[in-house]
Subunit: 412 residues, 2 copies
């Protein structure tokens, strides 16, 4: 089995405010082709330390992957240190330079001498194109070792890694294959879910099962290893089917799709359209739905009515209703859902009104109280929740539960 080592570069990763998260994603990708990560190092923008770390890594690991330090500023020294350690000369790559220039000027910025440094490439190394930023990646093979330098931002390094590194790793790691499956579930607590499925997955040592709690619900990660991809897939499929059957409607996705994507597919199929009326979530549900490309096929619009007056002006909720029941109430949630449905002409209106805090809670309406309304041609309904967590989590959870309500109502 091949060993990999990850080097996260950047002084900011040695402060109390930031931590390396790139290595998690990279580890998953490496594991998927049967490569184990044996060590991770975080080093600052310090030439001597970085050089030492890189030399140590080259001595002990088959594959070395670094992230960060490829930017245009003076403290981005990864290229330089890397060239010194591998004994390569840095040379200007004029194709890369032209691309960087084009990128920068198209954004209305001026090209500076600093930007030119990003086109310095160690001789003999392969340039990894970066469509999402100016810093290209670098890939090199030396003495049977594979060295990959990636930029820091995930948006830049992830597609780069998948396009230009994974194919190579798959070739190198011949023999062991891994198959994974992620089941996503919503509307059920982590321990409740575990109670349901533990008797099943405990009977299997391959695939292994890991249960994770995320902002968008619970994820069940299954990983199977075998001598062939087909066999690994078979193993993972068998357990996934058993778990899905046991969990019934709680599972919304078995192929990694997000809740937003699942809802989108379902609405498209039924030719339904949807609109949201949001108070405490402040546009979060609309934003999540529209993160999916092509959402305009089924999402028509949203109103964020952050004050009582706006609930009346923009959604037609009667002022007396708010007066009598309070803005955070089931009746107002229903009126908001009905209002957005009527004003947009959408098939489905979803609404959220609640108290995300930190201030404003009372005994009757504590922080975390959220009402979700749902209106369609059949009728209108609401659901009350008291959600734990801080402002951020309350807003996220409310938006997830609203989306989950939509999914449940329009199960095929």
């Amino acid at each position: 089995m091949l060993n990999a080592e990850i080097l996260a570069i950047g002084s900011e990763l040695l402060t109390p405010h930031r931590t390396d998260t790139n290595s998690l994603w990279l580890t998953e990708r490496l594991n998927s082709v049967g490569i184990a990560v044996k060590l991770k190092t975080v080093v600052g923008d310090d030439e001597a330390r970085m050089e030492e770390s890189l030399r140590d890594a080259l001595r002990r690991s088959d594959i070395i992957i670094s992230t960060g330090g490829l930017g245009p500023t003076e403290d981005d020294i990864t290229r330089k240190v890397f060239a010194r350690v591998t004994g390569c000369t840095l040379t200007m790559d004029y194709d890369v330079l032209a691309e960087i220039r084009q990128r920068i000027t198209s954004r209305g910025y001026e090209m500076t001498p600093n930007n030119e440094r990003q086109a310095l490439i160690p001789r003999g190394a392969m340039v990894l194109p970066n469509p999402n930023g100016t810093a290209p990646g670098i890939r090199m093979e030396q003495d049977g070792k594979l060295i990959v330098l990636l930029p820091g931002p995930p948006r830049e390094n992830q597609p780069m890694f998948d396009d230009y590194v994974m194919p190579l790793l798959e070739k190198r790691s011949r023999g062991i294959r891994i198959a994974t499956r992620v089941l996503k579930a919503a509307g059920i607590g982590e321990s409740q879910l575990d109670d349901k499925i533990a008797p099943i997955y405990k009977q299997y040592s391959n695939p292994t099962t890991t249960i994770l709690f995320t902002e968008a619900g619970v994820e069940i990660h299954l990983t199977a290893t075998a001598e062939s991809t087909a066999r690994a897939e078979e193993l993972v499929e068998e357990l996934a089917d058993l778990l899905e059957e046991k969990l019934e409607n709680y599972v919304y996705s078995t192929r990694g799709e997000s809740l937003e994507e699942v809802i989108g597919q379902r609405l498209l199929l039924r030719r339904y359209t949807i609109a949201t009326a949001e108070s405490c979530t402040g546009g979060l549900i609309a934003q999540r739905i529209t993160e999916v490309p092509g959402a305009s096929e089924y999402f028509v619009g949203s109103v964020v009515s952050y004050t009582n007056e706006m609930k009346t002006r923009l959604l037609g909720v009667e002022a007396e209703l708010i007066e009598e029941h309070g803005a955070v109430s089931g009746i107002v949630a229903e009126a908001m859902a009905q209002g957005i449905k009527e004003r947009t002409g959408a098939t489905i209106g979803v609404s959220v009104t609640g108290l995300a805090g930190p201030g404003g809670g009372t005994d009757a309406v504590p922080v975390g109280t959220v009402y979700i309304g749902l209106a369609d041609d059949v009728g209108v309904s609401n659901k009350r929740l008291v959600l734990p967590g801080d402002r951020y989590l309350i807003r996220w959870r409310a938006s997830t539960i609203a989306l989950e309500m939509v999914r449940r109502r329009y199960l095929l």
Copy 2:
């Protein structure tokens, strides 16, 4: 200045699902007494790698702090490796053994031979009591170096560190104190910013300067060390002032506030209210504004008009205008800003219409084209941008630039 190095021990920290977070808290504590963290390593429960990492750490750093691997199971080998590297014998500490026994039996469990291993202490080391778990910590000084082994769980290692390590560190780092400042800037590229300020910050070795690119703009991190907190503050203040002056209006925050918070403070001060009309950002701007607690004081609402029809129905944009100029145009952006201002009665209306892709681009309107509109009592204006990146980044950048336009327009 003393250098510290942190070793996070545990194979689970080398999986895709878990990452070391102990080091963030430890870094903050170390920094507070003027000790810099120069390197962090994550190593699994692998004797050879751990031994190598510990030897390397002892060679290059004054202070070595490890977390994890002190538990009772076979794979908790930190004690053993540590004893070998420092040349100390592990001996049974009968006081510690008695405490462990008492702890375990009082919880109704049976003492196992594995538990006894936790009472093995390197000769000459100091035992750090652990009131919150069975694994005691270990502290040792050798050749002027300080080595501290802590258990993994934060609720065990944090009180232990504060009680038995911090007092020693304060003594060792006598005098040296650290002050930090974060300047945040928007509307300027990373390298353009660096060109402007490098001639200034390069003259200073104290404070040190690090520049970071984030989703919300550029951050400049300054760190000063001095014999007293007051002097460190003075040093960091001096450079911060110079940089801020040089960068003029690009700097939106000098105390770590987010762009959303800065805008909120400014609107509150002027008693202005704001509303957004969003197309391609799908509610993202509203969502960002309302992430700030108390946003209801100045944010009234938003309309997400994701189709042409909704721009007309919800915002009163004339259909002919869209027909003639296209939905992604400056004129429509202005009409949307004007429309949301009128419909909500807010002081300021901000709008975004654009094409986030991935599909739908043409030669005239390529993916990434975004128009931002701004309407207030003075008048209405728009700005055209062609943003690079994928759907996610285009939406994020558009929302940041819209917020930045608001900030610029209402500078004090």
